[in-house]
């Protein structure tokens, strides 16, 4: 099963080491003399590090904004659920079902009027908004697992709600918060639609860089594979190092 999941990544990596002619060979080549020319060509033709930096900034920035909004929202819904909490959560999730292209023009115009086209700030805010429903849902599930008695007791010690969140809820739900943040970073990193449509020369992310290697007239599979490897590598490394926290957080409360 693991091999089935891993095969596309393996194939992408192998294709990135082929020439364009080897990449289109029928039947596909498994054994060949590897070349790194696609990787050098990518750096020659574009600024990989600039795009990578934009990806890092927008992913972490977007996640920070989403977490700042979602933690208080999820806390309120988890600790003091009202009559409409479930409906509200479902409504939030339903916004994820709206095709992004349906709101492209209004968002494009808003960003343009604000003078934020081709900026990392615009992308980070949009990434945050796009991921907010999932982030709130996940945090809501984690915060609900925190015993109500603990939260109530903390209200006696902490005068303000924000102190309760800061000193009790966040430390107790740290595993869940970390895994939610990680998932949000991954989702932001992989977001392509808004990156391609709202950026030009300055704020393009790695997803936009990958898309730029598709060609209407000419072979490009090997080059796209190489740039995809470079785009996936940082997030795969991050995922590898954080897999313990990620699994821990995602399974938090699952067996209760």
């Amino acid at each position: 099963m693991g091999l089935v999941y891993f095969f596309p990544i393996l194939w992408m990596f192998l294709t990135s080491l082929k020439t364009e002619l080897q990449a289109i060979a029928i039947p596909p080549l498994l054994f060949f003399e590897p070349t790194f020319e696609n990787f050098t060509l990518i750096q020659e033709r574009s600024d990989y590090f600039k795009h990578a930096l934009n990806s890092v900034a927008t992913s972490f920035g977007g996640t920070a904004i989403a977490m700042a909004l979602a933690i208080p929202a999820a806390y309120a819904m988890a600790t003091a659920p009202g009559r409409w909490t479930k409906d509200l959560l479902l409504w939030m999730l339903s916004t994820k079902m709206l095709p992004a292209v349906g709101v492209l023009m209004p968002i494009y115009l808003i960003v343009q009027k604000l003078g934020l086209l081709d900026t990392r700030l615009a992308l980070a805010v949009i990434f945050a908004m796009v991921n907010l429903p999932i982030v709130v849902w996940m945090l809501f599930s984690y915060f609900r697992e925190i015993p109500a008695e603990v939260v109530e007791a903390s209200r006696i010690d902490c005068r303000r709600t924000r102190d309760t969140i800061r000193h009790v809820v966040v430390p107790l739900g740290w595993g869940g918060i970390a895994s939610t943040a990680l998932l949000s970073v991954v989702l932001c990193w992989n977001e392509a639609f808004w990156s391609i449509n709202l950026t030009a020369a300055d704020a393009g992310t790695l997803a936009a860089l990958v898309a730029s290697f598709s060609s209407p007239e000419g072979l490009f599979w090997a080059k796209v594979s190489a740039v995809s490897v470079l785009a996936c590598a940082p997030i795969m490394v991050l995922g590898w190092f954080c897999q313990k926290q990620l699994v821990q957080g995602l399974t938090f409360g699952a067996v209760k």
């Binding site: 900034a57 972490f60 934020l116 730029s212 072979l219």
Partner: protein, 437 residues
């Protein structure tokens, strides 16, 4: 650790927010939106010569073709101002020029505007004014495997009849090693419909009559599409309904296609031994015809234009003047050889001996480009210009819908009659909505 959690979160948040602080747009630079193809990439590499000469810095934004159209349309219609130079095609240039969305291009005598091939210049102008300068141009032609055709004892003359093309395809068809003919089938106004329109033109069909009424339900369209579906279904590779230029290029370079009728630009790829296994076995002929030669081969150019409203129009025009000049073509030749220069734009390129020696396809390409006439591309008169498209804003939507229908007919999901009736309805609806009648 837990006591520090709040501080850690705050630090992470602040540093993340600092990282996304707006990057101030460097308005002194030129930003060019372009597609990713060999000639454009070469221009990107050589731009340092322009930068050194003028001190103007150029930023490149490379986009996938469909995204490029969407982005530049959005940018120009909302006056977004993200791009100072746009790569547009022969479809957009006259429409946008007439709307006042593009700056007129008027270069000095040294540029030698009369050297630009008349078909290209005409196709990129509106009301006699040039709105985009061609960077490279193309028509369509037959690119066939001479070794296979010779072995089959057949010949491939210029402008053969479609019946002859079918006979040749039958003679060299030897699946799964070689398929008789490879043609575009992937839906899209610039994909399958570009090719199908040339077939339809040669069968005497037209998109609209003089009153702008769609003509897809005419017998000529039926004959053309029936022939196309039968030819490609019988002698084409499996899965043709999802093949366009790149997919067929891959098949051709692998030696799987006996014949290919497509953009002349393909000739430079399939005759390149680094890319193609059959580079030395290829010959060219002019496009097939049925009842007329008119519109049997298309005409297209990728061109550079300046959107109206850019703050750097003068610098942008200066760049375009450099990038589409004779000197630029010589610069490419100096760096990469005459076989790599952008073609299909200037008469002087085809008069250059070095180029003619390096490009075996040069004669056939020039002949195809010169024979394409966007203002007279159908047997019966029409109110529109364009060979493989009608140069009106509504065509894009009509062409996309018709492309889906033709692709479905090719895949065998619906009949040719059904596909044409659906396309006719869609076109009729679109034209009524736009107030043509």
């Amino acid at each position: 650790m837990k006591n520090n959690t709040g501080k850690q979160m705050l630090a992470a948040t602040v540093s993340s927010l600092l990282a996304i602080a707006p990057v101030t747009g460097a308005f002194a630079d030129l930003t060019i939106a372009t597609v990713n193809n060999g000639h454009m990439i070469e221009m990107q590499k050589l731009t340092k010569h322009f930068e050194d000469k003028t001190g103007i810095k150029v930023n490149w934004v490379t986009l996938e073709e469909g995204v490029l159209r969407q982005r530049v349309t959005t940018d120009i219609s909302t006056k977004g101002g993200q791009f100072d130079i746009m790569t547009i095609g022969m479809y957009e240039a006259p429409i946008w020029g007439a709307k006042g969305w593009l700056e007129e291009l008027d270069f000095g005598a040294a540029y030698d505007v009369d050297d630009i091939l008349p078909a290209m210049r005409g196709g990129l102008s509106a009301d006699g004014k040039l709105y985009a300068a061609p960077f490279y141009g193309e028509s369509s032609m037959i690119m066939y495997r001479k070794d296979l055709v010779d072995r089959a004892g057949m010949e491939m003359p210029d402008n053969p009849s479609w019946g002859h093309v079918r006979d040749v395809a039958a003679a060299i068809h030897n699946p799964p090693n070689v398929y008789g003919v490879c043609l575009r089938g992937k839906p899209g106004w610039g994909d399958n419909m570009a090719f199908i329109t040339t077939v339809a033109n040669s069968f005497g069909a037209r998109w609209f009559d003089e009153e702008w009424k769609p003509q897809l339900d005419s017998p000529a369209w039926n004959h053309a599409v029936s022939f196309y579906v039968d030819l490609l279904g019988t002698y084409g590779p499996p899965g043709s309904s999802s093949n366009s230029f790149n997919e067929i290029l891959a098949l051709y370079n692998e030696g799987k296609c006996g014949m290919w009728i497509d953009a002349t630009i393909a000739a430079s790829f399939i005759t390149d031994p680094k890319q193609s296994k059959v580079a030395d076995k290829i010959a060219f002929a002019q496009s097939p015809i049925a009842v007329t030669k008119r519109g049997a081969n298309w005409l297209w150019a990728w061109a550079l234009a300046v959107p109206a409203g850019t703050k750097q129009a003068a610098d942008a025009k200066r760049f375009i003047e450099w990038a589409t000049s004779k000197e630029y073509i010589e610069l490419v030749a100096e760096n990469n050889g005459w076989g790599s220069v952008p073609t299909g734009t200037r008469s002087s390129t085809y008069a250059n001996r070095n180029f003619l020696q390096a490009a075996s396809f040069a004669d056939a390409e020039l002949k195809a480009i010169l024979s394409a006439d966007p203002s007279n591309s159908t047997l019966d008169p029409t109110p529109y210009t364009g060979v493989q498209f009608a140069s009106i804003p509504e065509f894009q939507a009509i062409g996309v819908e018709a492309g889906k229908q033709m692709s479905a007919a090719l895949a065998g999901n619906i009949s040719v009659e059904e596909a044409l009736a659906n396309a006719q309805n869609a076109a009729d609806r679109e034209m009524r909505k736009a107030g043509y009648y």
